[in-house]
């Protein structure tokens, strides 16, 4: 009996041993597969717990952060009103005691706040609700809600305070709202992704800066628009294009009105990324519009030190100094505007071109660099010019710069969680350029707001294969990654690949890689689809388009081969089968390749299209690049059928966005 027990124990031990050995081998192979064959101390939780959006563990591991973005300071300097983007709050801060006085719930994903001239009302743009709120600052009640265009972001008041100009990011237009009637009186065509507004104190012009390039010819440099409105007619009077520049996040006007200045990024996206070491990948600086109509671009970088992702800019009331937040390197630059005035006063066109690329120029006008907390975003200048308030997004904090000494003299805790979760750490890393050569750019630089920047880059350095930057939103369950599908996980994409091709530095540490991947997979989500009806229903045109998308026979009744149907490659909740396919878009000068079938949710916000960005619009996929029906059987369609198909494609969105609309809370894993 005892002997039998012994045999059983030996057999159990053997089975466990063999089983463990097999499991260990499988898990090692699995990890090697996921990480791309690189030795990496990755655990199960890295993939199966940290990126999870819902469930007990996910809720225990994560926190509901505030993620403040922008702020407005009261005229008397006693109050600061901070937009907490992830918490949908307007936070009121007493600047004397540095205490939070109130939290007012606003609309979905608020972007900016501004105070009316009488200082009695705060106006808040709700970027994911497509409206603006009016909040009585005494009662903290929402008194009015005015619908505007899609994705309202930055705004400014007319000099008399009667009009409000709002940049509608997602619909590329500018709303003019009459504050006396609380009515939108007109909507003007803006640039591509307009995000910021600044009215000249001279009451002559209003400047609106944009994030993305206007549509450009294939393989040409980006051109980003600053739209100039005539303040008296409230019409577009001019469109200034900044060549080779984009992501103009914020714009301001000097107190005398002699210049408008916007933050900007200068990508060298058509240059092989092998030029990173020469400072030729991405530069950062400011764009200037002078009173005489000339424009200039000046870099805030230095030859061996870059200051990426300039976000906000404010100008001191004396008009002599500007403050620029660099969200990618946790810094605020202090810029001598008088020096810039004299530099540009007599500059020839040739000199202006030189300045735009001159890494040594910043020494002429950058007079100070002030270290801040993680991810400085919005800036607010007190009316007397004594303080600059710096919103530190990834710290849930505001820092106070004393402009006399150019130092941070105080910080204001906005009341967010004290614990830094894995995903929060990932967010800090995502938005910080510390892992790239000379801090040249962060993940955010090419993926602003977790999306994509609308450009194509030559990342291989071969000069042949351009890659259209893809969104990082809602990546969970959409492997493989990269257009040619060679990255089976985000771990591989952001691991060795990242350092080899993109950053030219050492890889993220295993812990940092875990954090970055968790942040990307868990936190980055699409905004609600603006082409979808609020109840999730399809319009008549979208319903007709859906029938075309799902059709199995041609217009004349012949059966469409399965491989040529839309739904064969673009099916499931993400509208992709995640298989490689040849859709006839490989260009003659490119290496021959199959391409990953992209997922199509919110595809309307990802122009240009195809792997190399050669299709400027969804229509062009079929009108220009589908001569032989290799990208779906489509050439029998009439124009109105194609229009219906495009309308349907624009409406594609994961059901979770509209089915749980009322219960939506960010960071709660309900996405």
């Amino acid at each position: 009996m005892r002997k039998n027990r012994l045999y059983i124990l030996v057999i159990i031990a053997f089975v466990i041993g063999v089983g463990y050995s097999a499991f260990h081998k499988w898990s090692v192979d699995h990890v090697l597969y996921i990480t791309g064959g690189v030795d990496h101390p990755i655990g199960c939780v890295s993939c199966h717990v940290y990126p999870e959006r819902d469930g007990l563990l996910a809720n225990m591991l994560n926190e509901d952060y505030l993620s403040p973005l922008n702020a407005a300071v009261s005229e008397d300097g006693s109050r600061l009103y901070v937009i907490a983007q992830d918490a949908d709050l307007l936070i009121e801060v007493d600047l004397n005691s540095r205490e939070v006085l109130s939290n007012t719930k606003v609309g979905r994903r608020p972007h900016s706040a501004i105070l009316t001239r009488d200082q009695k009302t705060a106006v808040v743009t709700n970027q994911w609700a497509n409206n603006i709120y009016f909040i009585d600052l005494k009662t903290k009640e929402i008194t009015d809600s005015v619908p505007v265009g899609g994705g309202p972001a930055g705004m400014d008041l007319s000099v008399d305070g009667n009009l409000l100009y709002v940049a509608n990011t997602y619909t590329n237009n500018i709303s003019v709202v009459d504050l006396r009637t609380k009515q939108e009186i007109r909507r003007l065509h803006g640039g591509n992704y307009p995000t910021s507004v600044a009215a000249s104190p001279n009451d002559d012009f209003v400047f609106v800066a944009s994030q993305r390039t206007v549509p450009i010819e294939f393989r040409t440099e980006p051109m980003t628009e600053v739209t100039i409105l005539n303040a008296s007619s409230q019409r577009v009077s001019e469109r200034k294009y900044f060549n080779s520049a984009h992501i103009m996040e914020n714009v301001t006007v000097s107190p005398s009105g002699d210049m408008a200045v916007a933050t900007m990024v200068r990508p060298k996206n058509n240059v092989p990324s092998a030029q990173i070491e020469r400072g030729w990948m991405i530069n950062h600086g400011i764009g200037v519009i002078l009173k005489d109509g000339r424009t200039a671009q000046l870099l805030l970088d230095e030859p061996n030190a870059f200051y990426p992702d300039p976000y906000d800019i404010v100008i001191h009331p004396d008009g002599k100094r500007a403050y620029v937040s660099h969200s990618g390197v946790d810094m605020v630059s202090v810029v001598n505007l008088d020096r810039i005035r004299s530099l540009l006063a007599d500059a020839s066109e040739e000199e202006l071109k030189l300045y735009a690329n001159h890494l040594g120029m910043s020494g002429e006008f950058v007079v100070d660099r002030i270290k801040t907390g993680s991810n400085p975003k919005g800036l607010a200048m007190s009316a007397d010019g004594k303080f600059v308030y710096v919103v530190e997004r990834m710290e849930d904090r505001v820092s106070v710069i004393d402009t006399d000494v150019s130092e941070i003299v105080n910080t204001i805790d906005l009341g967010g969680p004290s614990r830094i979760s894995y995903t929060r750490r990932g967010g800090q890393l995502f938005s910080n350029a510390g892992h790239t050569f000379h801090n040249q750019y962060s993940c955010y630089t090419c993926h602003p707001d977790g999306h994509e920047d609308g450009l194509t880059y030559d990342l291989t350095g071969s000069g042949r294969n351009l890659a259209n930057v893809q969104t990082l939103r809602d990546l969970y369950g959409t492997a493989p990654f990269k257009w040619i599908g060679t990255n089976q996980s985000v771990y591989k994409q952001c691991g060795m690949r990242f350092s080899r091709f993109v950053t030219r530095t050492e890889s993220f540490s295993p812990e940092d890689l875990d954090a970055v991947v968790a942040y990307i997979m868990r936190e980055l989500t699409h905004p609600p689809n603006i082409h979808r009806l609020p109840n999730g229903a399809l319009t008549e045109a979208q319903q007709r388009g859906k029938a075309i998308y799902e059709r199995t026979v041609t217009n004349d009744g012949r059966e469409i081969p399965e491989k040529d149907r839309c739904t064969t490659c673009h099916n499931g909740p993400n509208y992709s089968n995640f298989q490689m396919a040849d859709v006839g878009t490989n260009k003659e000068n490119e290496d021959e390749s199959l391409f990953d079938s992209p997922n199509l949710n919110n595809i309307y916000e990802s122009a240009p299209y195809l792997h190399d960005g050669s299709a400027a619009t969804l229509e062009e996929i079929w009108t220009k690049f589908n001569d032989h029906d290799t990208h779906g059987y489509a050439n029998d369609m009439t124009k109105d059928q194609l229009n219906d198909l495009v309308e349907y494609l624009k409406s594609l969105s994961a059901e979770r966005y509209y089915k749980k609309d009322l219960n939506y809370k960010i960071n709660k894993g309900q996405l």
């Binding site: 619909t171 909507r187 007619s233 577009v236 619009t617 229509e619 062009e620």
Partner: protein, 372 residues
């Protein structure tokens, strides 16, 4: 042997004869709500602008007044007259095609919309943006007419009528597939009375009711006959070339005469029984109750009572009460083939095949003038 078809033809002729001889044709004064101006303006001191003055061509297709500015479409590009200076735009500047067929200006945004022979342009803030059938939902690249109606921009194209919602970027296309059209070829569009009217080749007038979101059509009850068999029974012909709306009245141009529609009654006008310069009408624009018809034989204007026509170097006034009289003019429009017209408070601009003509108000049919 008489077949059924012939029987119907004979019956039709008998009914026609009864109608023609048995009833008195109502004159213009009896039309229910026809709005009339008290008098008709007379234009004189004509001056012609052409290539010699800075326009890209003498062949003018379209003209549109925009406050202090004037936009002119030619077969060689777009021209802008501002502060007395002509500026010319061509493909090099971003114009979709140098053949500019129609122009409209949004009263809300000030953006200029340009219909060309190969795409639609929005000119805003000094920059052109191009919409084509390849890069957008535009129905067809050959665009004959464009109008701005609030946030919507409507176009009449060779491939149907289209509408762009400038707020959402969404396009709609209306052809014989989804609207009561004979074929997708559309020539002209206008807005008025909460409706959109489309001049559809061979399909008469197509009405889009913005409130009910439904179409209806107005076709010639006489079918494809090139004479108006039964007077005032509907639009005079199914081949419509232009529509315009003013003071609750729809004005419809065809190559076979002109019609008006007050919402209840149609009325037809022809060169043989009215002051209309020619039945072959290229374009029509109505403003403040007066319509201006651009024909192949001069420019006519009409307020429901009095006609004033400019052709052959003469001004012909033909009023119901005054009778016809002709005045010799010291200056006149440069060519009788007219294809576009627009008005400001005191001047008229006429697009002809030999230059752009500008006339000034120098009197009226009541006050007359000696300056003609």
């Amino acid at each position: 042997m008489m077949n059924a078809r012939n029987t119907y033809t004979v019956s039709g002729l008998i009914i026609t004869a009864v109608l023609l001889f048995g009833f008195t044709r109502p004159n213009g004064n009896e039309s229910k709500e026809e709005k009339k101006s008290e008098s008709m303006p007379l234009y004189g001191n004509w001056k012609t602008y052409g290539k010699k003055d800075g326009l890209p061509s003498d062949k003018i297709y379209a003209v549109r007044a925009d406050g202090d500015r004037l936009w002119v479409g030619t077969n060689q590009g777009l021209a802008l007259l501002e502060d007395g200076v002509w500026t010319v735009y061509t493909e090099e500047d971003g114009l979709a095609h140098r053949g500019v067929l129609a122009i409209d200006v949004s009263p809300v945004t000030g953006d200029v919309w340009i219909a060309t022979m190969s795409g639609l342009n929005r000119f805003s803030g000094g920059k052109f943006e191009t919409f084509t059938q390849f890069n957008s939902g535009l129905a067809n690249d050959v665009i004959y007419s464009v109008i701005c109606d609030g946030k919507d921009v409507w176009v009449a194209t060779g491939g149907g009528a289209g509408v762009l919602d400038t707020y959402t970027g969404k396009w709609g296309i209306y052809t014989e597939q989804n609207a009561p059209m004979h074929e997708p070829w559309t020539y002209s569009i206008c807005a008025g009375g909460n409706k959109i009217f489309i001049a559809a080749w061979g399909g008469g007038v197509i009405e889009w009711n913005k409130e009910t979101q439904r179409f209806r059509d107005y076709t010639d009850p006489d079918g494809e006959m090139e004479i108006d068999l039964f007077p005032d029974d509907g639009v005079v012909h199914d081949i419509t070339t232009a529509v315009s709306y003013s003071n609750d009245m729809l004005w419809v141009a065809t190559y076979f005469g002109m019609s008006t529609y007050d919402g209840t009654h149609w009325k037809g006008y022809f060169d043989h029984d009215s002051g209309l310069a020619s039945n072959f009408i290229n374009f029509i624009r109505a403003k403040d109750g007066i319509a201006f018809m651009c024909t192949d034989n001069g420019l006519s204007s009409f307020n429901g009572e009095t006609w004033v026509t400019y052709k052959g170097g003469k001004v012909i006034i033909d009023g119901n009460s005054a009778g016809e009289r002709s005045l010799d003019a010291t200056s006149s429009i440069s060519h009788d083939f007219t294809i576009g017209v627009d008005l400001t408070e005191n001047e008229i601009w006429v697009a002809t095949s030999k230059g752009l003509c500008r006339g000034e108000v120098i009197g009226s049919t009541e006050t007359k003038t000696s300056k003609l």
